[in-house]
């Protein structure tokens, strides 16, 4: 048996997939039931082969067996043709093939069976699970049902309760109504009784009164030794119509005076309020108007404001009128204008607020810090001062106490002395401070003075140098070859030699400059046409000169003025300019 099985097993791994595919193809192609049927038959087959193997095929019935097998194989859908019995003997190859195929079939069937079994087991477990589930759900359902019924019961009970309560309420309401009606009826009854009793009471009173009057109560009397006069000294008057009228008149007079007084007080109050209003208005105008020029951007607003202010003025006048006569219209105008003003003020304030918040947000931190620091410093200082003051007061008090308490004269004297010396000290300190200040001032002045002296020394030195230079030039000018060098120089030059001295010795100015100067001064009187370029020159030089302006000696001033006198009026400007330059040595 093992031999029979093992070769069949051998090719299995290699051919398995192919076979399976082919089988699947086969199983797909015919009807499934059929294949299943075949499987069943194969399943059944081994047992029968086992038991009847020996009996199934013998030497004699080989052919029958083969045909039978063929038939069977055909019925199984396998190639039956391959197994043929031609010459009594069965060829092994197709048989083996067939056998193999049958084996395959059997194995497949086995596997299918196995699968089915597992499937069966799984299904069984599933079933069990489902049954369990079902049971559970059934229980749950039962439970819910029970619960539901309980709730229903509760609901029913509650409804019952509600019904009873409603009934109760209804009855209570009825009760209340009844009681109310009882109360009202009783109230009316009591009122009625009250009235009746009161009537009885009044009747009784009347009766009593009458009785008393009728009886002429002897006791009812007044005993006066002599009648006294009226408190106002007048005599009593008869009751007449005239008196009645007078009383009426007096009453109305009293009322009138009261009303008048009230009106007056109200008027006063009114006028006060109006004054306040006016004042407020004025303030408002004052607050709002200076804003106009600075805020040009908000033109629309401005125009509105102007309009407002106009009507304000009107209103102001009108309100002044209303002080005298409270006119409905005027009041309206006043209130309107105030309202307008107020709205503007509000908008303005809002704008300001927004601006302020903007600005503040930018600068707040730093400024706040500073201000706080300042404040704190100030506070500290104040505190210190306060402390000092307190101490001082305390000391004084102590002194005073001592002075009062101590009987010793000397001590007090000493104390007094102390006081005086303290005062003196204070005064001296003050003087000392003054003195120090003065000293400081003197020091400063002195310093200034020394500085000035030093400067003067410097200037003198410069001057000396200049003078030396000038003398040198003068000396050189006296030599004949200088005349050749300067042909323009003429007679008047010599005449003015003294005056031109400083000009010549002007600190090392370029030669052109000196030349022009000399030209300007000395050539103009000769020829007017030459004047134009010289002035231009001068202006140019002026641009160069002005920063070096000092005050030195001006020895040429006299000469210049002289020359100016000689010059024409048109030259005045030039001269003055020249003189300026001269002065700026």
């Amino acid at each position: 048996m093992g031999d029979w099985w093992s070769p069949a097993m051998m090719p299995d791994p290699t051919l398995d997939t192919k076979e399976l595919s082919s089988i699947s193809g086969i199983s797909m192609s015919p009807s499934r039931q059929n294949s299943q049927h075949s499987l069943h038959s194969t399943m059944v087959l081994p047992k029968s082969t086992y038991s009847v193997l020996s009996a199934f095929c013998t030497e004699e019935n080989i052919s029958q067996c083969v045909t039978y097998i063929n038939q069977e194989v055909c019925s199984l859908g396998l190639s039956a043709v391959s197994v043929e019995c031609k010459s009594g003997s069965v060829s092994a190859v197709p048989v083996l093939n067939l056998l193999y195929e049958v084996l395959q079939l059997q194995r497949r069937a086995q596997r299918g069976l196995q699968e089915l079994e597992t499937q069966q087991i799984k299904n069984c477990s599933d079933l069990e699970h489902l049954q369990n589930n079902n049971c559970r759900l059934k229980d749950q359902l039962e439970h819910t049902r029970r619960e539901n019924s309980g709730l229903h019961e509760g609901e029913r009970q509650l409804q019952l309760k509600i019904k009873t309560l409603q009934n109760c309420l209804k009855s209570e309401k009825e009760e209340v109504q009844k009681l109310q009606s009882i109360i009202s009826s009783r109230a009316t009854q009591y009122n009625h009784d009250l009235k009746r009793k009161e009537r009885d009471f009044t009747k009784l009173k009347d009766r009593l009164n009458q009785l008393l009057m009728d009886k002429r109560d002897k006791k009812l009397s007044i005993e006066v030794s002599n009648y006294v006069g009226r408190s106002d000294g007048k005599r009593g008057l008869w009751k007449t119509g005239k008196m009645e009228a007078r009383h009426e008149g007096e009453m109305y007079k009293a009322l009138l005076t009261d009303y008048e007084a009230r009106q007056r007080s109200l008027m006063l109050e009114n006028s006060e309020l109006k004054k306040v209003l006016q004042h407020m208005k004025k303030d408002m105008i004052a607050i709002l108007s200076p804003k106009k020029p600075c805020v040009k951007a908000e033109l629309a607003d401005d125009s509105l404001e102007q309009a407002g202010s106009e009507c304000e003025d009107e209103a102001g006048e009108s309100s002044r009128e209303t002080l005298e006569q409270s006119c409905e219209q005027a009041r309206e105008k006043l209130t309107n204008s105030i309202r307008l003003q107020w709205r503007k003020l509000k908008s303005h304030m809002e704008r300001l607020d927004s601006q302020a918040s903007l600005v503040a947000s930018q600068e707040r931190e730093a400024e706040e810090l500073i201000s706080r620091k300042d404040q704190e410093e100030e506070l500290q200082r104040m505190r210190l001062e306060l402390q000092q003051c307190k101490e001082f007061i305390h000391m004084q008090q102590q002194l005073l106490q001592q002075q009062i308490s101590s009987p010793c004269d000397e001590e007090t004297a000493a104390l007094l002395n102390d006081c005086y010396t303290l005062e003196e000290k204070e005064r001296l300190k003050e003087e000392w401070r003054l003195f120090n200040e003065q000293k400081r001032n003197f020091e400063r002045e002195r310093k200034n003075f020394t500085e000035a002296a030093i400067r003067l020394g410097h200037e003198r030195k410069v001057f000396e140098e200049d003078r030396a230079a000038w003398l040198k030039t003068q000396f050189l000018n006296m030599t004949p070859f200088v005349d050749r060098k300067r042909p323009a120089l003429s007679e008047p030059h010599s005449a003015l030699s003294v005056g031109t001295e400083p000009e010549a010795k002007l600190h090392s100015t370029p030669p052109l400059f000196t030349k022009s100067l000399t030209n300007s001064v000395f050539c103009t009187p000769k020829a007017a046409p030459v004047k134009m370029p010289t002035t231009a020159d001068l202006y140019r030089t002026l641009n160069l000169i002005p920063e070096s302006r000092g005050h030195g000696k001006c020895p040429s001033a006299e000469m210049l003025s002289r020359s100016r006198l000689r010059n024409s009026s048109s030259d005045c400007s030039v001269i003055s300019l020249v003189r300026d330059e001269n002065s700026s040595v």
Binding site: L194, K195, E198, R199, T202, K205, L208, N209, L212, D217, K218, K219, L220, S221, I222, E223, V224, S225, N226, Y227, V228, G229, R230, S231, D232, G236, L237, K239, M243, E244, H247, E248, E250, M251, Y252, A254, L255, D258, A261, R262, L266
Partner: protein, 446 residues
């Protein structure tokens, strides 16, 4: 503060004459008139029976002594001590007697409020006014004494009659729109008459002198209503105290409520000052000597002083008995100071506390919490200061500057009631059967 010696009095009958010169007291059936300055007896009159009521005439010339039990009224003259007048109401009985404002007429209310008899001292004439209503305050004269308003009840309706006091001419007679009128009061300027309903209904009506209804005010319904009413001296405000523990202030122009003052059991208003009277029993020290015992009268009397307590403060509240009529709850007394600036109120279920309100700010100003129920409180007729007593040996005063408590230096003098002299320079303190003057201004005393 100085105190005078003690004099006897009975029935709390002690009055200072309107001109402030004399002090009249009744001791049993005697009427004693003293000079207020020297306290020497000026006149002594003897009445026919124990005096139940005594009153000065407005010109300080006459004194009326009523003996209700015998239905008698005796009038005494200060100028002519031998002048006398006796009025007998006869068998009809007498329940109330009072002067008319001119000081020449006496108005007697007979028993059962049957009628009011007007007796004239100038002529022998007698007038009757029928059907006066028996109520809390059914009759009131204007401050100038020209008019009298009288509540009447006819045909189960309330009526008000306005009389001219000069000749008792009936000026106006009109029906008032009240269920059951409880009281009426003229405004100090004499032009408005406030009329209020009884406590079952909160309703106050304001009538003009000529009988026109100016306005009416009702704060709520279905609950106990008005308990007390007071005009401010300027006639500007009308304060109405009610059972709901509130005071409502009406103005004189629209007669609408300006504000209402609540009297809460817990004071949380930070602007109010709560003065609490603290009693200090003297500690009996070890070295108690005989000298101390004899000299110090005050050894066994308790000292008290005011302490300002921190807010919030719980005010002691007495729960009223709801089963009884006229429950002890609500504002039973309202009084304005002479300068209209302050209002003092007392809530019945907080009997130990007195409330002072600022009428300019309409806010609570001070609360005085006493150790005993407040018996009586009176404003100075000129200055804004308040005197009060609680039935013990002390006199208490409040002014905007603060509070003081003074022990009356008389043994066993328990101040039951007090009133000011018309100049405000002194106070008259009344115990059960004694009286004592307290001089508040030491300078004036000298």
């Amino acid at each position: 503060m100085n105190f005078s010696e003690v004099f006897k009095q009975s029935n709390q009958l002690c009055k200072v004459s309107p001109d402030g010169k004399y002090l009249a007291t009744c001791v049993q059936y005697r009427l004693v008139v003293r000079d207020i300055g020297t306290l020497q007896i000026v006149h002594l009159y003897t009445c026919l029976d124990q005096v139940m009521h005594m009153e000065w005439s407005s010109d300080s010339l006459f004194i009326l002594c009523a003996m209700y039990k015998r239905g008698l009224v005796q009038v005494w003259s200060l100028e002519q001590p031998d002048w006398h007048c006796k009025i007998d109401e006869g068998s009809i009985g007498l329940v109330s007697s009072r002067w008319s404002p001119d000081g020449r007429h006496i108005l007697n209310t007979t028993e059962f409020n049957l009628r009011i008899t007007v007796w004239s001292l100038c002529t022998k004439s007698v007038s009757y006014i029928k059907y006066p209503k028996a109520c809390q305050k059914g009759m009131d004269f204007t401050a100038d004494g020209r008019y009298m308003a009288l509540a009447e009840r006819r045909d189960c309706k309330d009526y008000i009659s306005v009389f001219v006091c000069d000749d008792w001419h009936l000026l106006r007679h009109f029906e008032s729109e009240t269920q059951d009128l409880a009281g009426l009061e003229w405004s100090p300027n004499g032009c408005v008459l406030a009329v209020w309903d009884n406590c079952l209904e909160y309703k106050i009506l304001l009538y003009s002198l000529d009988g026109r209804l100016l306005s009416f005010y009702s704060a709520y319904e279905w609950s106990l209503g008005i308990k007390s009413v007071a005009w401010s001296p300027s006639s500007q405000f009308l304060a109405i105290g009610s059972y709901d523990e509130k005071v409502r202030i009406l103005n004189h122009i629209t007669w609408k409520k300006i504000t209402e003052f609540e009297h809460p059991a817990t004071i949380t208003n930070s602007k109010a000052v709560v003065f609490k009277e603290v009693e200090k029993r003297p500690v009996v020290s070890e070295d108690l000597s005989i000298r101390q015992l004899t000299v110090d009268n005050a050894l066994f009397s308790t000292q008290s002083k005011y302490e300002i307590t921190q807010l919030p403060v719980q005010v002691p509240v007495v729960k009223p008995d709801p089963e009884r009529a006229n429950p002890k709850i609500g504002i039973s007394a309202v009084a304005f100071s002479a300068d209209n600036r302050y209002l003092a109120t007392k809530n019945d279920n907080m009997p130990q506390s007195l409330w002072v309100w600022d009428m300019q700010k309409f806010s609570l100003l001070a609360v005085l919490e006493q150790t005993a129920p407040v018996r009586c409180f009176v404003w100075d007729p000129h200055l804004p200061r308040l005197a009060l007593c609680t039935g013990n040996t002390k006199l208490y005063m409040w002014s905007p500057a603060g509070c003081i408590s003074v022990t009356v230096p008389v043994e066993g003098f328990q101040v039951q009631s007090l009133f000011w002299h018309c100049t405000g320079s002194s106070l008259v303190l009344l115990s059960k059967d004694q009286l004592c003057l307290c001089y508040t201004d030491a300078e004036e005393q000298k």
